[in-house]
């Protein structure tokens, strides 16, 4: 029998305990979800256990981010198999920042769910599902293996399927059919691309792929693979012309669920594009494919904002604004300079927070008025001044007014498009922002400023009787998010540092590769 040294392929000692830390943002919600399913009969406990775990998760993600800030990108490999053989989990600035942001957003959603998810919905797994959704999202942000990324995609996709049909009304089932089929096709396209990629290069490790692909020419099968990735992730991110499923479905589920989706899901698609066209396939990131992505981004930004102007349902209006925000990210990714990527990452964080907040405030409005239709919604300014002020504030954030968080990334992105002479992009961003000001301004004028219409009076009075203690509590997550985006807006330095370090790691991939391969390149 031959004796073979396994030193090159396997870790000879156990994985260092500290390395397990990278897994914390995935393991904590996963274990908690399992615990909640065990306690499925005592649904009263669910929100408390979930909130406790999510608070722990925020802390763990923050610690991870600080550790990354101190030591640079971190990597761990599963089952002692060294990369590229084992699956490596890799936390760089981009992944760690987004993990923290999504944990914060899910915490707010869970807090809102305390008053919103009924005992029946909790029994059907509201809290376990939002936790497993977070598992999938955080896993996507932290994994360093592209097939593993596909698996995490499916984890959050199946959780979102469960959440979107929670309640099971006719409208919901109609929206769910479109959402589920399109998601399934998009992830299958992703799998097809991954199959080809494996066939071409024989590896699935992102850092390993980066090393192999970097010296190649952008031609032949690589074009097909890159194009398929662009198609699949754009579908998931709701980019022009494949965004129609989003406004068709996001206004149908429970409002708290659509807040969760709006905050996280499309951003994972945008994140995957960012990751694919910088680290995994660096050649494709410098090719004509980026021009395609640029015009896709321009189309997304303009069509999304145009759609928003045409809506009368507040949640559909927000859905279209969400589509427009994806356009900005695509423009940033396609320009691909370090400054543009910095702005994109900053904008992503901003977008996670603000989109969650916008849909949650729609929930508060619904709680008080029983409707989100701008044709009948009226008189909120007089009855509920705090709600009105919050909506105005969040509207300013979403439009990108200073001193809130939306201003800085848009400002940087616009100046970068001018510097790179991509004037179409400059126009798209400004025009789209202008349209979003019109649509949100109209929503405010009709829903808030307009005096209460006579035929809405009965409905409002009926709704006022249904209010409970929880209705006050529902302001809390919205306020939390509002405070967060204001802090980020007034003191953007911290997030800017993180984003620019994230962008630096994407432009110069050596630190990422070094982290995965333990410094020995």
């Amino acid at each position: 029998m031959k004796t073979i040294s396994t030193e090159g392929a396997m870790l000879q000692t156990a994985t260092a305990a500290i390395d397990w830390y990278i897994l914390a943002p995935v393991v904590i919600p996963l274990v908690t979800a399992a615990i909640l399913i065990i306690f499925r009969r005592s649904v009263g406990l669910h929100p408390y256990i979930a909130l406790l775990a999510l608070a722990g998760n925020i802390y763990a993600s923050f610690e991870l981010l600080m550790k990354v800030k101190l030591e640079g990108p971190l990597a761990m490999t599963m089952g002692n198999w060294l990369p590229p053989f084992g699956i490596s989990f890799t936390a760089d600035f981009l992944g760690a920042t987004l993990t923290l942001t999504s944990s914060l957003a899910v915490f707010c959603v869970a807090l809102y769910g305390m008053g919103d998810a009924s005992a029946r919905e909790r029994r059907f797994g509201f809290y376990p599902l939002i936790l497993t959704l977070l598992v999938g999202v955080n896993g996507s942000f932290l994994t360093g293996d592209i097939f593993n990324l596909y698996v995490w995609f499916e984890v959050f996709v199946i959780s979102s399927f469960g959440l979107i049909v929670l309640g099971g009304t006719r409208k919901q089932l109609d929206g769910a059919v479109k959402y589920c089929f399109l998601s399934l096709i998009a992830t299958t396209l992703f799998l097809i691309a991954t199959g080809y990629l494996y066939g071409l290069y024989g590896t699935l490790n992102m850092a390993d792929l980066s090393k192999i692909v970097a010296p190649l020419k952008f031609e032949g099968p690589l074009v097909v693979v890159s194009g398929l990735y662009l198609l699949a992730f754009s579908m998931k991110a709701a980019a022009f012309p494949l965004y129609f499923w989003l406004p068709a479905s996001y206004h149908t589920p429970k409002i708290v669920v659509s807040a969760l989706f709006a905050g996280l899901l499309t951003k994972v698609g945008a994140y995957s594009l960012l990751r694919t066209f910088t680290i995994i396939l660096p050649v494709a990131g410098d090719s004509w494919l980026m021009d395609v992505m640029f015009y896709v981004g321009v189309g997304t930004a303009i069509c999304g904002a145009l759609g928003a102007v045409a809506q009368t349902d507040l949640r559909r209006l927000f859905s279209f604004l969400l589509v427009a925000s994806i356009g900005f990210m695509l423009i940033g990714i396609s320009i691909g300079t370090e400054t543009a990527l910095t702005a994109t990452i900053f904008y992503m964080v901003h977008s996670i927070l603000i989109m969650t907040a916008l849909f949650l405030i729609a929930g508060v409005i619904y709680e008080h008025r029983g409707s989100l239709d701008l044709r009948s919604l009226s008189g909120i300014n007089k009855d509920l001044p705090l709600l009105s002020l919050l909506f105005l504030g969040l509207g300013f954030v979403a439009m990108g007014f200073p001193p809130f968080s939306g201003f800085w990334p848009k400002f940087v992105l616009i100046s970068e498009t001018i510097k790179q002479e991509a004037y179409v992009g400059t126009f798209a961003i400004i025009f789209s922002s202008f349209l979003s000001i019109i649509s949100l301004g109209r929503a405010f004028a009709f829903g808030f400023w307009r005096p209460l219409t006579p035929n809405a009076e009965d409905e409002v009075a009926g709704q006022a009787k249904k209010l409970s203690v929880y209705s006050k509590l529902q302001y809390v997550p919205v306020l939390l998010l509002m405070i967060l985006v204001t802090i980020v807006g007034i003191a953007p330095g911290f997030l800017f540092d993180l984003s620019s370090m994230g962008a630096k790691g994407l432009v110069d991939t050596s630190s990422y590769i070094a982290a995965v391969f333990g410094g020995a390149l």
């Binding site: 399927f161 049909v165 109609d174 096709i185 799998l191 494996y198 701008l374 009709f446």
Partner: protein
């Protein structure tokens, strides 16, 4: 062998795209099932086909004596099969429920979430 399988994969994808483009939910479902199977075959083929040598290593040895079939695609396909099966089961039930509630499986007539009649905001107040 790989070429023949590639052509088969292409056929799978062509049929599935044709079905996905139809209006009937049932046809779309069959299209999705075909797409899932096509992908599995694709991954299998892209791992290169080696016949008759299963990837089994002698007890105690660290490497195989002769060249063996690539075991990784099989692991990938197993994962993909489980996932696509679960998701397919879900959308199957969902389609049935939607058919029960809405009374049609024609996607062009499923307009409850997005009503056809245009809605406008009043010009002023």
């Amino acid at each position: 062998m790989e070429s023949y399988l590639s052509i088969l994969v292409g056929l799978y994808f062509a049929c599935s795209v044709y079905l996905l483009l139809s209006q009937s939910l049932v046809r779309i479902l069959i299209g999705i099932a075909l797409l899932g199977n096509g992908v599995n075959l694709l991954i299998f083929t892209s791992g290169r086909i080696t016949r008759g040598v299963p990837p089994i290593i002698e007890k105690g040895a660290k490497v195989a004596e002769a060249s063996i079939a690539n075991p990784l695609p099989q692991a990938l396909i197993l994962t993909a099969i489980v996932i696509s099966f679960a998701l397919f089961a879900f959308v199957l039930v969902l389609s049935y429920r939607a058919y029960q509630e809405i009374g049609t499986d024609d996607t062009a007539k499923m307009r409850i979430a997005e009503p056809i009649e245009p809605s406008h905001l009043p010009k002023g107040y």
